[in-house]
């Protein structure tokens, strides 16, 4: 694979699709759909090629030499403007064990979401153009190793998402879209601040021996690269670095979404069309936790260590609070949205453990939540398409009317409950093994196990209310799944069950990197702490 820019290809392929879609006449809706499907299928194939050529033994994280499929060249170079110096921004892509699962997830979910978008017939061209733009943005976030580039993709994602909810959404789409937009934008502002602060604190040694400010994330992870007077240098005695950490974390936390920043999520989900919900829950939420692992943790290892209890605390709140609120929901989609809040809590809890098992669990949970929640939202879509309502209490007895659909929903629900033999169990169990094993957050882990019970409670109750009991005569004509819906659900179900039985298939991809991350955090947290106390 040497020299072949496969990451650029997988990232910008949708832009090619976008151009094609835009150049097609408005009437050719079907061609637009097929184009998108072809593009996303190629993306899946590229992801598989990536996986096939992926070296499981390389760690990545902070070491540019062990990143894979790296592409790096100078992207922007603005000659010196007084005190700022020369601005040099790299186009720097690469994957390691943290990003590889996310790339696979993005490719898979986008493909499924394309199928799910088939029935959208309101300005098809615009929809798929935005959809493809979103695709590029998401993929870009996961493969960028330059903070500036990361930020560009991060922001780029906002735009299509805003319109996809705001135009193709439900009755309160404007409200939901603007709420999503502003909320995420607030997070971005925090991130921007920190990014610029870091930029002016880090100098990278260039090949010619000179040094320059840099947006390179990997350079920011190395304490030796900091300018001693830099605003966010570990040597800076002020607590700016601490504030920066909080700000950056808040930026990511909004995306996860972490309590109390989560209220945009139920609104966005309820109003978004099904495929957008699938992408939102399946991929976008992971950008928050991914950002924390990719950026916050390795750049601020000592502060991460100091705050791990709080991260775990918010994880716990997400798990319990999300589950309890889900229990009270009467709208099927809103219930699933709150279940996402609950399930993303496991990711926070796992990463807060700062152990190999816990962080492996967290990353695995990110992937699993992506596939499982995608199934859940697709299931909501199936019933909404047919009945045009999502009220849990309006259904009942669908099990006999739509047996195959019931089967898939049951699989999805039990996967969400964390039933062994499905992927969610492995990641949740690992999160608990890791967090319980870390003394600082043990109590929080113990309380969080209540989530296992509450999760089962709202899921089984919902299953009963929708599928069991007597059939409401109103729904006596609902057809079972059609072929397209099969094609959407079957791959996800296979992935969920396969990874439940053979989790190593995914864990081996991430394990080397996670292990390295944990070592790196421990060593650097110690290093920085001793440096500071030596001052």
């Amino acid at each position: 694979m040497d020299g072949f820019p496969i990451l650029s290809l997988i990232t910008f392929l949708p832009i090619v699709g976008l151009v094609i879609v835009l150049s097609l006449p408005k009437e050719k809706a079907q061609t637009v759909r097929i184009t998108t499907l072809v593009i996303t299928s190629i993306q899946v194939i590229l992801a598989v090629i990536l996986l096939a050529n992926y070296n499981y033994g390389l760690a990545g994280i902070n070491d540019p030499n062990s990143f894979q499929f790296v592409e790096k060249f100078r992207w922007i170079e603005i000659p010196g403007i007084s005190w700022i110096g020369t601005i040099k921004i790299d186009y720097f892509l690469g994957v390691d064990g943290l990003s590889m699962p996310m790339v696979l997830l993005t490719a898979l979910i986008t493909f499924i979401a394309t199928l799910s978008s088939w029935k959208i017939d309101k300005s098809v061209k615009g929809y798929f153009a935005l959809f493809l733009l979103l695709d590029t943005a998401m993929m870009g976030v996961f493969v960028s190793l330059d903070f500036f580039l990361f930020y560009v993709f991060w922001e780029l994602m906002l735009l299509p998402m805003y319109f996809l909810i705001g135009i193709w959404g439900g009755p309160r789409k404007e409200y939901a879209a603007i709420k999503f937009f502003i909320y995420t934008l607030v997070g971005s502002v925090f991130m921007l601040l920190v990014m610029i602060g870091l930029y002016f604190s880090t100098k990278e040694i260039l090949p010619d021996g000179s040094s320059a400010y840099t947006f390179n994330m990997l350079a920011m992870m190395n304490p030796h690269n900091y300018v001693s007077t830099g605003i966010l240098s570990p040597l800076n005695p002020s607590n700016l670095r601490f504030i920066a950490y909080i700000a950056l974390f808040a930026g990511f936390a909004i995306k996860i979404p972490m309590f109390p920043f989560h209220t945009w999520l139920p609104d966005a989900h309820v109003e978004a069309p099904t495929p957008i919900s699938v992408i939102l829950a399946g991929v976008l939420l992971k950008m928050g936790t991914y950002g924390i692992l990719r950026i916050s943790f390795p750049i601020f290892p000592n502060i991460t260590r100091e705050l791990m209890w709080y991260i775990a605390l918010f994880g716990m709140i997400n798990i319990i609070y999300g589950a309890l609120v889900a229990l009270a929901q009467k709208d099927f989609k809103k219930l699933i949205a709150y279940s996402s809040v609950s399930h993303m809590g496991y990711v926070l809890l796992g990463m807060a453990s700062l152990t190999s098992v816990g962080i492996n669990g967290a990353v695995f949970q990110m992937f699993n939540h992506g596939t499982i929640t995608a199934m859940l939202f697709l299931s909501v879509g199936v019933i909404y398409d047919r009945a045009h309502t999502r009220g849990i209490y309006e259904f009942g007895g669908l099990a006999n009317q739509m047996p195959v659909y019931t089967g898939f929903v049951t699989v999805a629900f039990f996967a969400a409950i964390g039933l062994p033999s499905m992927s969610g169990f492995i990641s949740e169990a690992m999160v608990f093994l890791g967090s319980f094993g870390t003394e600082v957050i043990r109590t929080l882990a113990i309380i969080s196990t209540l989530g296992i019970l509450l999760g089962a409670a709202y899921m089984l109750w919902t299953l009963q209310r929708i599928f069991f009991g007597k059939l409401n005569e109103k729904w006596a004509n609902l057809p079972d799944l059609d072929l397209r819906e099969y094609v959407m659900l079957v791959p996800l179900a296979i992935v969920v069950i396969f990874l439940g039985i053979y989790p190593s298939a995914m864990l081996n991809i991430m394990n080397t990197s996670v292990k390295h991350l944990v070592d790196f955090l421990a060593v650097n947290a110690h290093h920085i702490s001793t440096t500071i106390s030596a001052l």
Partner: protein, 700 residues
């Protein structure tokens, strides 16, 4: 037969039912009578399990357990932990071999029986696939050599139980019962899971033997005996859920909503016994305190359930409470250290309780799905095979000599008697022996009301007829298995039989001496004196002596009490010397307390269920009006500020381009115009903010 052959056979046995499940669930609609495939799978599994049992009990009877394991997840070398892997594996000892046969045979018989019982059900094929996934999960629990795999299959039996209890999900009560079973079990599972977390945190493995080895080496969880006790009790919580022990017993009676053969297989003979099996598996690491808790919970449960069983009128409910009560016996036996008898009772109970349920199924079908015994009566003549097999099982469960139940029950009661004489915990044998009377009483009450006397509902009686052969043959097989001669040559002594003396040995305790009961301490002299090395460690000579002394008193009391219970039932229900209704009236408070199951359901509903749902509602309100209210409020305030600054900009500041105006304009743009969705605004905003930041952050 070599060890590896046995391992391979056991893995084949494990996989056969899941293959059956997969084939039946996916091809159920395409192929006619595909359920025969599942029946064949479980039949083969039974044959193979019998082979394993035979080989194990002949060639390997005193050999160490046969263990096979493989790495499932490999974390590689980790700091502090070393090389961390998660292994799965099987462990075949005598106990597992016996359990495999129990599970596969009862499962097979239930498969056959269901051909008759479930005939004509619209989801007949799916029913068989569920039986397959259940058998698979149950065999996994039996075979596992580690706690994680036990937990995995533990949850999977929970799933199959959920699916089968709610099999007739059109009925709300059935769907409710399935949900209740799953959730109640999850409460226990949380405890079990925490126990597993403690063990993994300390030993970095899930494998029983490795954990035991570390504990024996003096490495206690968090270096504390209290934590070891806590771990034991937490793991036991899993058993409390699965084996329906107080306070989580409430799900099992409701589980009777499932088809009756399922009740026989899952909720009487096998799955509910998994809790006891689990206690047996973790037995070596249980401290005295943990064992005492287990014994008390088991004893109390057996008493509680028996007092409820005496007033129930639903034939399956009586049997359900009887099951809870008998499971309490097994748990209690484990708790007092009568390990072998606890497992012995598990096995004998599996046959006769499966028989009772299948018998009740035969009655229910004959009565056209009537389950109320007050509608029955006189069925002896109509259903002779059902009657005599049912009677056999009743004699067995009541503890009448010559039947299997007598041997195991007598043994475990003896254990409680000896235990009390050594430790002073007399409450435990009091529970144990009281339950003997109650058991004999409610079982004979059931038999007499159902089968003896005159029919109470003539119409239903006239339509009743004996079940077909597919249903009666399993009954006969199980009845034969309920006699003593499978376990011992002497019908009055289980102790001298091969089951107790040769097959099942109490394992070594690995708990430090200071945490054991006095009578379980190992002493150098004791080791030298006794021949049987297995018993040395766990039971001191003191215990053996106490057992010896208790032997006859315990047996005599047990036989007398059983006779008393039977006599009472005859006096009241057969000879009608005492009017039960008048009794109920006179002690109406007690009667109602028993009839209403001590009001546990009402209590839990009012506290836990209502509490959780209420908390959910409160938090949902909080989420909508407070958390989101703050968000919307902030947005509102910002909008007002931005409107104000917009006005300020227009009217107060005269067009001079200065920083203030620029900034408020920016606020106005950023927060007001963004809502128009203009992309350009947004881009300008981003660029400007970068510029401002560059200015602010300029190094001085």
């Amino acid at each position: 037969m070599s060890e590896i052959t046995l391992v391979n056979l056991s893995l084949i046995i494990l996989l056969l039912p899941i293959i059956g499940f997969t084939v039946v669930i996916f091809f159920g609609k395409r192929f006619f009578k595909i359920f025969w495939f599942e029946i064949a799978m479980i039949g083969i599994a039974f044959v193979l399990a019998s082979i394993i049992l035979f080989v194990r009990l002949t060639t390997y009877v005193d050999a160490a357990p046969i263990v096979f394991q493989f790495t499932w997840i490999n974390f590689g070398n980790l700091p502090l932990l070393g090389h961390l892997t998660i292994d799965l594996g099987v462990k075949i000892d005598n106990m597992a071999a016996i359990m495999m046969v129990v599970v596969t045979l009862i499962s097979f018989l239930v498969h056959i029986y269901s051909l008759g019982y479930m005939k004509g059900d619209p989801r007949f094929t799916r029913y068989y696939s569920y039986l397959g996934i259940f058998s698979f999960s149950m065999l996994g629990i039996v075979l596992t050599h580690n706690l994680l795999m036990m937990y995995i299959f533990w949850e999977l039996v929970g799933l199959s139980s959920y699916l089968l209890i709610g099999f007739w999900y059109e009925k709300k009560s059935a769907a409710d019962a399935g949900k209740k079973a799953f959730l109640t079990n999850r409460v226990g599972d949380i405890g079990m899971f925490l126990g597993i977390l403690i063990l993994f945190t300390n030993y970095h493995t899930f494998t029983f033997d490795t954990i035991f080895h570390s504990i024996a080496g003096g490495h206690l969880p968090f270096d504390s005996g209290a934590w070891l006790t806590a771990t034991g009790i937490l793991l036991f919580m899993g058993a409390v859920g699965k084996s329906a022990q107080f306070p989580l017993h409430v799900w099992l009676p409701d589980a009777m909503e499932g088809p009756t053969p399922v009740s026989a297989l899952i909720h009487a003979a096998t799955m509910v016994a998994a809790g006891v099996y689990m206690i047996a598996r973790i037995f070596p690491m249980l401290t005295a305190d943990a064992l005492l808790v287990i014994a008390l919970v088991g004893g109390f449960t057996s008493f509680l359930a028996a007092t409820i069983a005496i007033t129930q009128n639903d034939i399956k409910k009586v049997l359900a409470y009887s099951t809870i009560s008998q499971l309490g016996y097994m748990v209690m036996a484990m708790g007092v250290g009568a390990y072998a008898y606890g497992f012995f009772h598990l096995v004998t109970h599996a046959w006769f309780k499966a028989l009772l349920f299948l018998g009740s199924g035969s009655v229910i079908q004959a009565m056209h799905h009537e389950q109320d015994i007050r509608e029955m009566g006189g069925l002896r003549k109509k259903l002779p095979i059902t009657y005599y097999t049912f009677l056999t099982a009743t004699l067995a469960i009541s503890g009448v000599p010559f039947f299997s139940g007598f041997l195991s029950k007598d043994g475990l009661l003896l254990g409680t008697y000896a235990f009390a004489s050594l430790t002073g915990h007399v409450l435990i044998p009091i529970f144990g022996f009281t339950v003997v009377i109650l058991t004999a009483f409610y079982m004979f009450r059931l038999v007499i009301i159902t089968f003896h006397g005159e029919p109470r509902n003539i119409e239903k009686y006239n339509h009743a007829h004996e079940s077909p052969k597919v249903m009666t043959i399993p009954l006969i097989v199980l009845a034969v298995l309920s006699f003593f001669f499978w376990y011992t040559g002497n019908p009055f002594s289980g102790e001298s039989g091969w089951f107790i003396s040769k097959w099942i040995h109490t394992p070594h305790s690995v708990v430090p001496d200071s945490l054991r009961f006095n009578f379980m301490r190992s002493t150098a002299e004791a080791s030298a004196h006794l021949e049987n090395a297995h018993e040395v460690i766990t039971h001191s000579p003191m215990y053996m002596e106490a057992l010896h002394h208790s032997h006859y008193p315990a047996m005599i009391i047990s036989i007398l009490f059983a006779g008393l219970g039977i006599l009472l039932a005859y006096v009241i229900y057969q000879w009608k010397k005492v009017d039960p209704d008048k009794l109920a009236e006179r002690y109406s408070w007690l009667y109602k307390f028993s009839l209403n199951k001590w009001y546990f359901d009402e209590l839990y509903q009012a506290t836990f269920v209502a509490g959780t749902l209420g908390l959910g509602k409160v938090l949902a309100w909080f989420d909508t009006y407070i958390v989101d209210g703050i968000v919307n409020g902030t947005a509102w305030v910002t909008r007002k500020v931005s409107e104000f600054s917009g006005l300020f900009d227009t009217y107060v500041v005269d067009g001079l381009v200065n920083f203030t105006a620029f900034f408020s304009g920016f606020v106005g743009l950023g927060l007001k115009k963004i809502q128009t969705g203009r992309v350009q605004t947004y881009v300008v905003f981003a660029v400007l903010s970068i510029l401002i930041l560059l200015l602010i952050l300029r190094p001085f």
